[in-house]
Amino acid sequence: MRILIIEDDMETADYVMAGLHRSGHLAEHVSDGREGIVCAAGGNFDAIVIDRMLPGTDGLTVVKTLRSVGVKAGIIFLTARAGVDDRVEGLDAGGDDYLTKPFAFSELLARLHSLARRPPLSDVETILRVADLELDLIARRAKRGDRDIQLRPREFRLLEYLMRNADRVVTRTMLLEKVWNFHFDPKTKIVETHMSKLRAKVSLEGEPELIHTIRGAGYVLRAPV
């Protein structure tokens, strides 16, 4: 992936750049908004990571400008403000995702993957398949081979999200946001308990495991090798 980082804090920028290079991505860095606009508009990037507060032109304005000139790349806002309205404002301006500093690099990476992978035809996809697991979005049915899986509505959504992001790590926070629409950090194990229920339904005794826990990062659904 080609990723542009617009960030004035060198420490954060270095940290993100190092992480991205380590995970095999191409990353470029600029440290002010004006430069960011020029770079992003001409650079054909897959994703842009931008700080909310930049010297000169602030992040919101940069993103609004980029969207108005037709830049389609996925955009993730970074911010040190734990503001209540900030997320809403960020998404309003044309951002796709929002991450509060400090963040674990794995969290940023998972979100970048999720953004870049968004298949353009996802809206017309009606059946998702991973190995012998099948999810019919119209009939609201899940099947593993010939076996029907009875899912509760929230479990269905959880599985749908995992399958749409198959082979990619999704973090706990991403699941909270996308499956439950919770934009706060619950102090109890919501994701863990739902995930273990779902896992037990998807893989019975003897069937190969499809949902895997990635320690310190999140979960991934993938076909057995």
Partner: protein, 486 residues
């Protein structure tokens, strides 16, 4: 103002004052009137008595000087010519010799008698008379009509009643006028205060420049508000500075720890770094929570507000935590009425409810039953999170909403002590009345969603951002399968 809210005026201090003054004036008018009446009455009375007395003496002198015949002649003459005195003269046997008064009184000395009115049949006139027996045995009565005295009394009372009526009317009018002016000033101050409570710290009480007491009070209030605003701005500036000054190094610390974790192959050091990372996260979490609470409390962050489906929100949160509760050996039941709506921020309200439920899950023993309800009572959405756990002692109930306040018995369980402070802040921002009660046994948190939504004009379209609209988009036909539809 006066026509719109007529009853409010009667409760103002100025109206009460006007009424009090009216009562005082009316009272003094009555006292003054009584004194005048008494004096006039007395003087008229005295004149009357003196005239009768004088006439009697004169007639007695006539008798003594000129004899009985002359007296009778004089009396007859006076009956014919005299203006207003009336007479009756009888001899020693009681036979009428002269005079027009009826033979009404044989009583000696002063008395009031009723006499049929010649001009006005059926009516009587009252006369004051004095009867005296002269030396020759003649009984002489002289009297005068009391009508003028009665007339004075009647006129006086009439005047008094008119005066009182005028007093009351003027007092009422003046009171209303004063109160209206008074209320207008008070309302201006109330409006400003309401705006400030609502989060607009720049609002000030308008001044008239008249230097009246109200203007001086308003000016003092404005100076106080300037000062408060300055303090709050300083405070928020400091909070932001701290947030930045501390968050940035903490973020770097976190990044370094994470990088170290990736680089380090030694599993023993890894554990230590992992623990340090978790500690850093705890510090950052507490920090974020504090800043968030402060921001919500400032009441200015309402961009995420919209008309939202409370029932749906409650269902989602209750559903999310039911599994968690079950995992902890507790049961969570939800009794949620459909189609309850409210004006608010879906994210914040979800977090509020989640915090309350998590509290109930964390601080109770296994086997506890937790119940979540939502209904509409008298047009107001009312919700509750109740459990049959250990509850909260009476004296702690108001304190549990303070930052970092934790009951002694819960010091063993993890938590920052900020969850309920955030609940209180969200409730305050949304105009939700939060009541902590004994569930006998256990704890019952009741929320009454009493705030009115803003006027239609202020409602912006939030559907694109709304929690549930988003769900609808990504999960079509969530409720049930409709084969053949795509």
């Amino acid at each position: 103002m006066f026509f719109g809210r007529p009853f409010r005026i009667f409760r103002t201090a100025s109206f009460a004052l006007a009424l009090l003054y009216a009562a005082l004036f009316a009272g003094s008018a009555v006292v003054l009137g009584c004194i005048v009446y008494w004096t006039v009455q007395n003087s008229v009375d005295r004149q009357l008595t003196a005239r009768i007395e004088g006439e009697l003496q004169l007639l007695e002198v006539v008798l003594q000087a000129d004899g009985s015949a002359e007296l009778v002649r004089q009396v007859q003459q006076r009956v014919v010519y005299a203006g207003n005195l009336e007479y009756f003269l009888a001899d020693a046997d009681g036979k009428r010799l002269a005079g027009s008064l009826p033979e009404a009184t044989r009583k000696l000395g002063w008395s009031d008698i009723e006499v049929p009115d010649q001009q006005n049949r059926g009516h009587t006139k009252t006369f004051r008379v004095k009867t005296k027996v002269f030396d020759n045995g003649y009984r002489m009565t002289v009297g005068d009509d009391l009508a003028p005295i009665y007339e004075i009394r009647r006129a006086f009372f009439e005047a008094l009643i008119w005066t009182l009526a005028a007093f009351l009317g003027l007092a009422l009018l003046g009171g209303i006028l004063l109160s209206t002016l008074f209320l207008r000033r008070v309302d201006a101050i109330s409006k400003t205060v309401a705006e400030i409570i609502g989060g607009n710290l720049n609002s000030r009480v308008p001044l008239r420049g008249t230097y009246d007491p109200f203007d001086r009070l308003s000016a003092s209030l404005n100076r106080m508000l300037d000062r408060i605003q300055l303090l709050m701005e300083t405070l928020s500036q400091i909070s932001n500075d701290i947030a930045h000054a501390l968050r940035t190094p903490l973020s770097r610390l976190r990044h370094k720890l994470e990088t170290a974790l990736i680089a380090e192959r030694n599993s023993e050091s890894n554990k230590t770094i992992d623990a340090a990372l978790m500690e850093t996260d705890t510090i950052l979490d507490t920090f974020s929570a504090l800043l968030r609470i402060a921001q919500i409390e400032s009441g200015t962050r309402t961009a995420g507000f919209g008309n939202l489906d409370l029932s749906n929100l409650f269902e989602t949160v209750a559903d999310a935590f039911a599994t968690v509760a079950e995992d902890e050996g507790k049961t969570l039941t939800a009794n949620i009425a459909p189609k309850v709506t409210y004006w608010g921020d879906a994210d914040l309200l979800s977090e509020m409810l989640a915090n309350l439920i998590e509290n109930a899950i964390k601080h109770t023993a296994e086997g506890t039953e937790i119940e979540i309800t939502l209904s509409t009572q008298n047009g107001v959405p009312v919700a509750a999170v109740a459990d049959n756990g250990p509850g909260v002692p009476d004296q702690h109930r108001t304190r549990i909403f303070r930052r970092f306040y934790r009951l002694e018995c819960s010091s063993g369980t993890p938590g920052s002590g900020l969850g309920l402070a955030l609940v209180a802040a969200v409730a305050e921002l949304h105009g939700i009345e939060l009541v902590v009660a004994d569930n006998q046994p256990g704890l019952r948190m009741t929320m009454s969603f009493v705030a009115q939504p803003p006027k239609q004009a202020e409602i912006r379209d939030f559907t694109g951002l709304s929690l549930f609209a988003e769900q609808e988009k990504s999960v079509p036909l969530q409720a049930h399968a409709v084969p053949g539809v795509h």
